[in-house]
Amino acid sequence: QQPVQSPQAVILREGEDAVINCSSSKALYSVHWYRQKHGEAPVFLMILLKGGEQKGHDKISASFNEKKQQSSLYLTASQLSYSGTYFCGTEWMNTGFQKLVFGTGTRLLVSP
């Protein structure tokens, strides 16, 4: 059972903000965020562990709400280089210690 991401696609103008959500039906231990550009491998962005933390990476940050079993990725002042497909990967409590399951992906297109 995979995490559900929303929205499926986002189109932004350079400089605009976006939020991508990732929800799980199972209790989460951690959430990973990756970005994949067309024809390339997924590239790691950040990991959030249970505890409701928020992390930042340049103008990209994320939060993890353990109670709601969801994570959100925040992209502020988007740049052209942010274009790609964003995947959350979830690791569940009590199962699958070496099993990172990815969501359906959110396609982001940033235009000039």
Partner: protein
């Protein structure tokens, strides 16, 4: 920066044939993974491997698939009796520590595009 390398980058095979996809994980990493991505779709977990054993596998990873670490550096995925629906990009990944990371991200190779005709 160390990276995961995969060979070949593209493999074409006929239905029913066996293929072996090869990966060299990052040298100090202990956990290895195979994922596949059908064109335009999500990245699907196949299997994880640690200490010469499978740690986790998905329902996709049936008897048609096997993994091996034949020596200290290579990690292989064998697909027997390939079917048309096996056509996909296959990614190898490795991580330094367990819990699929936990604190340790997955580093992906550039993938092998498998085309079954």
């Amino acid at each position: 920066e160390p990276e995961v390398t995969q060979t070949p980058s593209h493999q074409v095979t006929q239905m029913g044939q066996e293929v072996i996809l090869r990966c060299v994980p990052i040298s100090n990493h202990l956990y290895f993974y195979w994922y596949r991505q059908i064109l335009g779709q999500k990245v699907e977990f196949l299997v994880s491997f640690y200490n010469n054993e499978i740690s986790e596998k998905s329902e996709i990873f049936d008897d048609q698939f096997s993994v091996e670490r034949p020596d200290g550096s290579n990690f292989t995925l064998k697909i027997r009796s390939t079917k048309l629906e096996d056509s996909a990009m296959y990614f190898c990944a490795s991580s330094e520590s367990g819990r699929a990371g936990g604190n340790s991200p997955l580093h992906f190779g550039n993938g092998t595009r498998l085309t079954v005709t």
